[in-house]
C-alpha cells in the first residue's frame, strides 16, 4: 500500500491517500470547512494566495488555506 501524502491545510498537517484532491484534503483536515467549500462560501487558495480548483491533485508538502469567497475575490468594498 502506498504511503499517505502529508499536506497542510491552514497550517495544520493532514495525511491523505495518494491521488487525493484538494477537497479530499480539506475534508480530512476540517469537515465543516469542506462543506463550506462545497457550498461556495469558502474557497481554497494555494501558498501564493491563488484559488485552486477543488479537484486539483495534491502532492506531498502541498500547502493550502481556506478563505472566505470574498477574501479570494478581494475586490468588494
Amino acid at each position: 500500500m502506498s504511503e499517505p501524502v502529508r499536506v497542510f491545510v491552514n497550517g495544520v498537517g493532514a495525511s491523505v491517500p495518494p491521488g487525493s484532491t484538494v477537497l479530499d484534503a480539506v475534508t480530512a483536515a476540517d469537515a465543516a470547512a469542506a462543506d463550506a467549500v462545497r457550498a461556495g462560501t469558502r474557497v481554497v487558495v494555494d501558498s501564493r494566495g491563488l484559488p485552486v480548483a477543488n479537484d486539483t491533485p495534491v502532492s506531498g508538502g502541498y500547502v493550502m488555506r481556506i478563505v472566505s469567497a470574498r477574501q479570494a475575490r478581494a475586490t468588494e468594498d
Binding site: N10, G11, V45, D46, S47, R48, G49, L50, S59, G60, G61, Y62, V63, R65, V67, Q71, A74, T75, D77
Partner: protein
C-alpha cells in the same frame, strides 16, 4: 546556545523576497556604467559613492526614494540591466541566498529606447546566467508605482502576465505610499490575479495599518512589503495571520525611512510570535548599505533571534515564495536538507 557568527549566518539557506533591482547596484558597477554611458555620478570613488548612496538622513519614505534617480540613470540599456541583475544574484548566492525574487518597475527603464519587454528580458538573462553559475534560483516581481497613473500599473500588470512563465512570478505596487492608495490600482491587481499571478504590495511603510487593509482587501495582496505598521491594528494582524498573508520585513530600511524608530523597536519578533509568516529581506542593498547576512545578524543582536528562530524565519520565507507549487516543493526539499545538515554540523 549557538553563537551566531557571520559564517553561520551565511550558511543558513536564505530566501530574499523583497529586493529592489534598482536599489541593489554595486557602487563600482554604477561608476563603470556611468563612464560607459557618459552619465555623471555624484562621486568618483566606489567607497565615496557607497557612502553617498546610503540613505541615513531621510525624513520619510519619499526622501529615501529620491536616491533612485542615480541608479536608474545607468539602467537604461539591456547590457546594464543584464549585468546588474547578474551581479545581484551573484552577491546573493555568496550570502547563502538560495532563492531570490528581485523587483522593479520596467517603466522606469525605457528612457534610453528599450521597450518594456526588453526591459524585462535583459534582467532575466542576467538572472538565468547567475542561476547556471551559482545554483541560486532567481525570479522577478514586476512593480507598478503608486504615484504613477493606474493605467500605467495596468500596463505593467499585463507585462508581468506576458512573462508569467518566463521568470516573472508576481506583481507588486511600490512608490510613495502616503496619499496614493493601492486600491486606486486595483484594476492592475485584478488583472494579475485573474491571470494566475500572485500579488504582493508595499504597505504599512509610509502610511498606517489602513493602507495594509487596503492592499489585503482590494488588491489580492498575499504578501505585504514591509508591513511595519500592521502592529498598530491587532484585528488586522489576526486577519493576516488567518489568511496566511506573509510580511516581508526589512529592518535597516524601515529605520532609514522612519517607519520604526530603531531596530530594537521593530515588530518582527512580535509578528512571528503572533503566528504571522515573516521573512527577512534587504529592500535596497545600496541605499541601506546592507546584505542579507547583515539583516539576519541585526535580528539576532537587536531582537534576540536564536539560530532556530532565524531558520524558522528563513523556512517561512521559502514557503511564501511566489514560485509555482511544484518548483516550490522541490526548493523546500532542498533547503530542508540543508537546514538539517547545518543543524547537525553546529550541534
Amino acid at each position: 546556545m549557538t553563537v551566531l557568527t557571520s559564517d553561520i549566518l551565511r550558511r543558513i539557506p536564505k530566501p530574499e523576497l523583497h529586493c529592489h533591482l534598482d536599489g541593489s547596484l554595486r557602487p563600482a558597477t554604477m561608476l563603470e556604467l556611468g563612464r560607459d554611458q557618459r552619465v555623471a555620478m555624484p562621486e568618483d570613488d566606489p567607497d565615496a559613492l557607497r557612502d553617498y548612496m546610503r540613505v541615513d538622513d531621510a525624513r520619510d519614505l519619499e526622501e529615501y526614494l529620491a536616491r533612485f534617480g542615480h541608479t536608474l540613470s545607468v539602467m537604461q540599456t539591456a547590457e546594464a540591466m543584464e549585468r546588474i541583475a547578474y551581479e545581484l544574484a551573484e552577491d546573493c548566492a555568496r550570502e547563502g541566498v538560495r532563492y531570490l525574487e528581485t523587483r522593479y518597475a520596467p517603466v522606469l527603464n525605457i528612457d534610453g529606447g528599450l521597450s518594456l519587454a526588453q526591459a524585462v528580458e535583459a534582467p532575466l538573462r542576467g538572472l538565468a546566467r547567475a542561476e547556471q553559475e551559482y545554483g541560486i534560483t532567481a525570479r522577478v516581481i514586476i512593480c507598478g508605482i503608486r504615484n504613477m497613473s493606474p493605467e500605467v500599473s495596468l500596463g505593467l500588470a499585463r507585462l508581468a502576465v506576458d512573462f508569467k512563465d518566463r521568470g516573472v512570478v508576481g506583481f507588486d505596487l511600490a512608490g510613495g505610499e502616503f496619499g496614493n492608495p493601492a486600491s486606486a490600482h486595483r484594476a492592475a491587481f485584478d488583472y494579475a490575479f485573474a491571470h494566475g499571478l500572485p500579488c504582493t504590495c508595499h504597505a504599512g511603510e509610509g502610511d498606517g495599518a489602513s493602507s495594509i487593509a487596503d492592499a489585503m482587501h482590494h488588491c489580492h495582496a498575499h504578501r505585504i512589503g514591509h508591513g511595519t505598521r500592521l502592529i498598530e491594528d491587532p484585528l488586522l494582524m489576526a486577519e493576516a495571520r488567518d489568511a496566511g498573508v506573509a510580511i516581508e520585513c526589512c529592518l535597516t530600511s524601515n529605520v532609514q525611512t522612519r517607519a520604526v524608530a530603531s531596530i530594537d523597536q521593530h515588530p518582527l519578533r512580535r509578528y512571528m510570535e503572533a503566528g504571522l509568516h515573516v521573512s527577512l529581506n534587504t529592500d535596497n542593498r545600496l541605499m541601506s548599505g546592507t546584505d542579507l547576512v547583515t539583516e539576519y545578524g541585526l535580528a539576532a543582536r537587536h531582537l534576540d533571534f536564536t539560530f532556530d528562530e532565524l531558520c524558522h524565519v528563513a523556512r517561512a520565507g521559502f514557503a511564501n515564495a511566489f514560485l509555482p507549487d511544484a518548483e516550490k516543493l522541490a526548493l523546500l526539499a532542498r533547503v530542508d536538507a540543508e537546514f538539517a545538515t547545518l543543524r547537525g554540523s553546529i550541534a
